[in-house]
């Protein structure tokens, strides 16, 4: 296998808004923003199992397989461009 030299140089561009956030962080923000979960629910039970029901609601709404998991299709969906109107609630 190639031993590889120095990797590509990465630069911190001024004003770059594309912060590096984990998929889980993105999902938690998405679930609240679009009405699948109340902000208070974020603390309930920690960031793990409590996401399942909300993810299922999201997956049903977005016509995705209802796995309740943060699977690749769901991650792709939450990163896709979309309308800002919440999907659930007012």
């Amino acid at each position: 296998a190639p031993r590889g030299g120095p990797g590509p140089t990465l630069v911190l561009f001024p004003g770059d808004q594309s912060r590096n956030r984990t998929d889980r962080e993105l999902a938690e923000e998405y679930l609240v923003r679009f009405g699948y979960r109340l902000p208070g629910e974020m603390q309930d039970g920690g960031p793990g199992q409590a996401m399942g029901p909300a993810l299922r609601r999201l997956q049903k709404q977005l016509a995705l397989p209802e796995t309740g998991e943060l699977d690749p299709a769901t991650v792709a969906a939450i990163k896709a461009p979309r309308c800002g109107v919440p999907d659930l609630g007012n």
Binding site: V11, L62, R82
Partner: protein, 583 residues
């Protein structure tokens, strides 16, 4: 489809809208056109009309903005959230906001519309040649004033057609200077500026003075984004500056160097290492038309749907076809009902493809008036009678709702109040007719509910009220009562027959259907089945069902829902405009 809680909707049909400001990505004319077309998507299937106001209160106020733009629901920079809108109501309700950190296009990349010049506003044609050289972008070559221009045909040297590209040197947007170009340098708060600036603003929009002193004259406008302007970064709206230096290397095109996400970027000065000014390179962008049509759906009272192919699905996807899905149509008609009037007809000749047919041109007597012989030579399939005397009702395009449609002899037949028309052999030319039904099939009553030709025997079934007839050649059999088919006495009428396989058909009546053996003229025993179980997305109140060109069509009012052999609704449209090809 879903509506908002409380089924919020407008209490009037003449909706007004006002465009409060414009994106620098597109010319105001293109933006206005995109919005007008987006409203037309909804007015085509509802009784709603949309009128643009230039000032004053309007039902729907349209605004471009970035980040927090005054309503407490901030946008998020490029990509992610594209736009949002509020359900119907007073004040901010009904308004639609578009994120101006997006790259707004018509969905297929940058289209550069010109101003002035000789091209009357046509779009740039890239590449074009000028003085034997090839150009891929706007240029100021050949000019002493530095104004960017482009040719609108492939060869400027030959055609001489050109226009000016978007530039602050050509015009400004909004502001208070009526679109006057920037004046450089200008003075703002005692400082001299030689280019557009975002100083003095918190929203990031680039502006300039239109005299040499803003401090003195206070006239200003917003700078349009130049063609190939970058998005995001810290120089949004500025063009790439090729070649530029980055980490000591020279770049003549957009690059993903220095990034881990693979997104292409460029510097907006010739030396990134020194000035650190950059932005993302323009891509296909988002279709303002499609996003606007979606947001206007919200502004009219529709919430997000779970039907992925529908316009009201929350995620953006680009399509070139008609944006409305049957789910969208059903949703908006649930709130406002169907369109009740045909589209206004222009006073001029219809578009090419369908020759004008003034009443005097109509065939009125044989021999010219005789319809052409049927394609199969069979005496009974197509009409053989004399055309009816002309009257306003003769025009197939004046019919809003047909009694029945059916494919007979390979040609679609349109039935209405004792008259019939038939489509041209391949469905591409003008519809022929009318003929009097009594001349062609004398045994039939003037008002039919459905017709069906058995492809195997060529026998033609006609249904009207509680009776049906069968024409075998010139011989009429019947009428018989519907009970003869095995239908219960509660079945008042048959709305259509559709062949499934040889000798078998589906017989429709309202919300139910039966499987039918054509030869024995009998339906299966047992309870009828609900139409919605086999055909989701079609109207339950369809008054006519027929098979045409391999697709099943469900008609309700003047609309049809087309169902593919795979059982999917792939089109909703007007019978007259789409099927009868009326102008």
């Amino acid at each position: 489809f879903l509506t908002f809680d409380g089924q919020l909707k407008w209490d009037h049909q003449n909706i007004t809208y006002r465009v409060q400001n414009y994106s620098p990505d597109l010319t105001p004319e293109v933006i206005e056109d995109a919005f007008a077309r987006a409203f037309a998507v909804w007015s085509a299937v509802t009784p709603l009309t949309f009128t643009r106001l230039s000032h004053g209160p309007a039902d729907i106020v349209i605004q471009f903005g970035t980040k927090e733009h005054g309503d407490g629901y901030p946008f998020d920079g490029p990509d992610g959230l594209l736009a949002h809108a509020f359900p119907p109501g007073p004040g901010i309700q009904g308004d639609a906001h578009f994120d101006d950190d997006e790259h707004w296009t018509l969905g297929k990349g940058e289209v550069v519309y010109t101003r002035f010049g000789t091209a009357e506003g046509a779009a740039c044609h890239f590449p074009f040649t000028f003085s034997g050289r090839r150009y891929e972008a706007c240029t100021s070559d050949g000019r002493e004033d530095g104004l960017p221009w482009c040719a609108t045909t492939p060869d400027y040297d030959q055609d001489g057609l050109f226009g000016f590209c978007p530039s602050e040197l050509v015009y400004t947007l909004d502001g208070n200077a009526a679109g006057s170009p920037c004046v450089f340098p200008f003075v703002f708060e005692g400082r001299s500026y030689s280019s557009c600036t975002t100083d003095g603003r918190s929203d990031g929009y680039r502006w300039c003075a239109t005299t040499d002193s803003f401090d003195r004259d206070r006239t200003y406008g917003f700078c349009p984004n130049r063609a190939s302007a970058v998005t995001g970064g810290n120089s949004a709206g500025e063009p790439c500056a090729f070649p530029f230096t980055f980490l000591g290397r020279s770049f003549a095109a957009c690059t993903a160097e220095g990034r881990s996400d693979g997104r292409l970027w460029c510097a907006t000065t010739h030396d990134y290492d020194r000035h650190r000014k950059w932005g993302f390179c323009p891509d296909t962008g988002y279709s303002l038309f499609l996003v606007a049509a979606h947001e206007f759906g919200h502004a009219l009272g529709l919430d997000h749907t779970t039907v992925r192919e529908a316009l009201m699905f929350p995620m953006y996807s680009y399509t070139e076809g008609p944006p409305l899905h049957a789910d969208d149509v059903e949703g908006i008609q649930f709130l406002y009902g169907p369109r009740t009037e045909p589209d206004p007809r222009p006073p001029t000749a219809p578009p090419t493809g369908r020759p004008p047919a003034p009443p005097t041109d109509r065939p009125t007597a044989p021999p010219a008036g005789h319809p052409p012989a049927p394609p199969t030579g069979r005496p009974t399939a197509p009409p053989t009678g004399r055309p009816a005397p002309p009257s306003p009702a003769d025009d197939v395009c004046s019919v809003s709702v047909f009694d029945a449609l059916a494919d007979i002899g390979g040609r679609l037949h349109f039935f209405k109040d004792g008259r019939l028309w038939r489509a041209s052999p391949r469905g591409r030319g003008p519809v022929e007719g009318p003929w009097l039904l009594s001349d062609v099939w004398p045994a039939l009553p003037p008002r039919l509910d459905a017709a069906f030709e058995d492809p195997l025997t060529k026998n033609i079934f006609f249904f009207s009220g509680g009776q049906y007839w069968v024409y075998a050649g010139r011989t009429a059999l019947g009428p018989w009562r519907l009970e003869k088919l095995g239908l219960g006495s509660t079945v008042q009428r048959v709305t259509g027959l559709v062949q499934r396989k040889a000798g078998k058909a589906l017989l429709f009546s309202g919300e139910h259907y039966w499987r039918m053996d054509i030869k024995s003229q009998s339906v299966n025993r047992g309870a009828p089945l609900p139409v919605e179980e086999l055909f989701s997305g079609v109207p339950l109140e369809a008054h006519n069902v027929f098979l045409y060109k391999g697709n099943i069509h469900f008609c309700r009012d003047q609309f049809y829902w087309r169902v593919t052999p795979r059982g999917q609704v792939d089109r909703v449209g007007y019978v007259t405009f789409d099927i009868a090809q009326c102008p």
